[in-house]
Amino acid sequence: MLINCPYCGPRDVIEFTYQGDGNRERPQAASQNLDAWNAYVYDRLNPAGDHNEIWQHSGGCRAHLRVVRNTLTHEISSTAFAHGGHKSAARHKAEGKS
């Protein structure tokens, strides 16, 4: 499997570390909503098809990438930096946190 790192170009999967489901949405840090935390920590979609994933280029530039990978064919339809457009990032910005 090749992952196309936006910094480094196409690299073998051996250089990357899977860092989990990219659909997880972390609740606000102070949230006491246990259901939301539970969903964040444990609930996974496990789709047969396109899956939104976080991969770290740990053997390269160490950037975290948002990768859409088909779990049936391993075909990767998109790769992008994880922080660009991540919901929590957008939310923090919207709330004026720095």
């Binding site: 499997m1 090749l2 073998d12 570390t17 860092q19 972390r26 609740p27 840090a29 102070a30 949230s31 006491q32 246990l34 935390w37 539970n38 964040y40 920590v41 444990y42 976080i54 770290q56 740990s58 160490r62 950037a63 975290h64 064919t73 391993h74 994880a82 922080h83 991540h86 929590s88 990032a89 923090h92 910005k93 946190k97 720095s98």
Partner: protein, 997 residues
Amino acid sequence: MSPRRTDTGGRIDRLRTIRFTFDGASYTGHAGDTLASALLANGVSLFGRSFKYHRPRGVLSAGVEEPNALVTVLRGEVREPNIAATMIEIYDGLTAVSQNRFPSLSWDIGAINQLGGKLLSAGFYYKTFMGPVVGPLKGTRFWMFCEHFIRRAAGLGRAGTAPDTARYERMNAFCDVLVVGSGPAGLMAAKAATDQGARVILAELEPHFGGSANWSGEVIDDMPAADWAARAAGQFEGHDNVRLLPRTTVWGYYDGNTLAALERVTDHKENPGKGEPRHRYWTIRAKTVVLATGSFERPLVFPGNDRPGVMLAHAAERYANEYGVLPGDRIALFTNNDSAYGTALALKKAGAAIVAIVDVRPELSSEMRKLASEAEAEILSGHAVVATEGGKALSGLKVQRFDMVSGALSGDARSIHADCLLMSGGWSPTIHLASQAGARAEWNEALQAFLPPKPTQKWIGAGAFNGHFKTLEAILDGRNAGLSAVGATGTPMAYPSVESLPGDSQPAPVFEIKAKGKSFVDFQHDVTAEDVRLAHREGFVSVEHLKRYTTLGMATDQGKNSNIPGLAIMAEALGKPIPEVGTTRFRPPYSAVSIGSLAAERFGDLKPERLTPMHDWHIANGATMYAAGLWYRPMIYGLSGETIEQAYVREAKATRESAGIVDVSTLGKIAVQGPDAAEFLDRVYTNMFSTLAVGKARYGLMLREDGLAFDDGTTWRLGEQDFLMTTTTANAGKVMQHLEYFLDVIWPELKVHVTSVTDEWAGAAVGGPKARAILAACVTGTAVDNATLPFMGIVRGKISGVPVMICRLSFSGEMAFEVYCGAGYGTHVWEALIEAGKPFGLVTYGLEALGTMRIEKGHVTGAEIDGRTTARDLHLDWMLSKKKPFIGSAMMDREGLIAPDRLELVGLIALDNRPLNGGAHVVEVLDEANPHDSIGHITACCYSPALGKHIALALIKGGKARHGSRAFVSDPLRNRFGPIEIVSNHFYDPDGSRMHG
């Protein structure tokens, strides 16, 4: 002259004689021989004993699909079992032995299993090892006892125990076109792609390029096919865009057109060249793959088809044409298709008498009749072989009239005298790699074979792989595949002329002759046709279940011979056509792969090791090193005659009495820097770091998102925006990734940068009552008194001219200082500290003493932060800030994580004054015969010089509430039982007066 070697012919070098041994007997062969061909030439017919029944077995094939002739190759002390004799090129000094026989190959006691055939039928283990559920042996382990002996009797070669000294390596390669297989199709494909300027790799599992051209006896372009192939392969020499890989098996087809291959670099050499690896594991990324992997001839299933002397037809042709070996003098053939007739003629020409061609088909073409008469062979059309005769070698066979449609036998059996019986059950394209790459194979009724599926990855098939069994078809296919692989159309060319024998590729749909006796489907796993039917009668309908129940196709040959016949018999039993029964998906590896090649540089000389800057000093000063992950750390600095325990007790005692020094360079160190560094640490650690003053350090604890403890360590505030975090040695990498993940994915708005600086700093911890005096004697530029350097304070100064950073913190429980300097000065500063410590009785101590002192203090490490414990379990709840959220804060108070019966950290004292063991269980009621009801386990233990007792840390249900109570250690594995007292984990100096003082 060897008894079966022909006078002329073959592609061996008759001028070069090679000496080797098989089962202790010396033989000779020629350069170019395989072990199989050389032994056949010497008249050897018995190669091994079969898996279950210990039946005598010869050689069935001439290639990678060989199920019977498996041998063990010995190189010095190293033994490699289960190698097909057909794949071993002989060299001077080759030593091979047969397998699965006792006491000898020709007289094997296990052959008695043949008499118990009914007992050893399909599902034997599942049925037999269930009980006994009734009778006097009920509830005993009687069957377990028997199983040991039965399992020893079944099986293949024995693995060796000597370490493999060979070197293995891995290579990565990229190409436009990878051509797998170098028969006429593969050669043409490689040539077409190479001529277009593409980067090409041509992989061939045999030693020579050419595939079937090497033995087909055909004529291509007016020259023998073998010469044509040699010339075609020779044309690649000097082209730097093509890489030739002989002896290379492409064994795996993975996603993204990534293929795995094994190159056997030196297996055929008596003395490998300097620096040559034994095997090379190739990872090949190809834009396009041309699969020109050819086909396998199928055996026919009939009683006695496993007797030595029964062989695949083309294999015999290959032995005659390529190796100059006749597998028999009086040869009979048994076939359901035309290809055997060419074989008969070839063997006739090589000097054998063809006594009969038994063909299941009632009608034969005039061309086949003509070939048979040229071979001077009697034709028995509409007949079938119903038995074979002989012991360790074939002496004859019996044939009967056979009705192909009904499968019925009729008439009297007729005996035919023959010493070799060749069978041909049609041809199966070698579609393994295509199947691995994704799609389901498609059944072709005319060819009675599974053809490759539509490509799901970028590959193109060519030749027999496509079911195009004729050489001319293969040549056309190959050229087209090579061109389209590089997107070229190519110019018209004159195709080579091919002279080959006539013959129809379509076999009769006959796979099995049902007659009395054992008819083998899977030779290597001893699965008979009756086993397959038995599985059906017992309700196994799915082909996958059939496979698992009978173990059909699950031996090292992966069913290369047995797949289709097995399916056909199953289909008949089910009353369904073959395609509805389906075929199993082929999975990697295509053929056996050495474990060494998979490990390659990750093992032995090339395994990375991490050494601290003071490593050489430790070695020079008597340290016994201990591998901790990739790191090497001193375990003890033993004096002569000391045991490990004596050494660490001495080191720990001296540290507590005067002072000790330990190398702590392996601790993970992460620079956390930036305007939001303090805020980030507040989120990452359970306790506050934003309140930490510059020039001070604080002990911190991290949790995982699920609220369980993750890692601990001290973090030093070097500046307003500059922190140095330390982690445990083992978790340094994980903590780094954890921090990076949160900064990059969750909190990208935080202005923080993290850098791993583990290797930039050398660290030494000096602890003990004299530690401060030692520092005072060697540190310049700063005072180290209590006012300047209080507990958890940090100062900068110099030791022997080298800038150092000193933090007063303690793991040992003594007054202690961690001294950090640039890694390049590690030994220099270390030696200066040793020198300064001499008047004060400073000792060096290793991991054992470090562990002893931390157990005495009740500090936790990875043994307690084991991924199951919470901060509360470890009595670190005082570190859980209530003023801020942090990673894990929301989840750490879940019901199960605060339950009163959780395992909590305690101390244990052995009341019988005997050593305790890590991992031992703790029980309230001692029952040595039947240990039960564990209340927890020991995580770390030592002899404590400070207490004069054997102590341990343990995780025990209820924890604190049990302080002062008694229990027992229960360790049946090491037979250690005895009374203990449960106490606080803080054994020594619980109020910390020594380190604060």
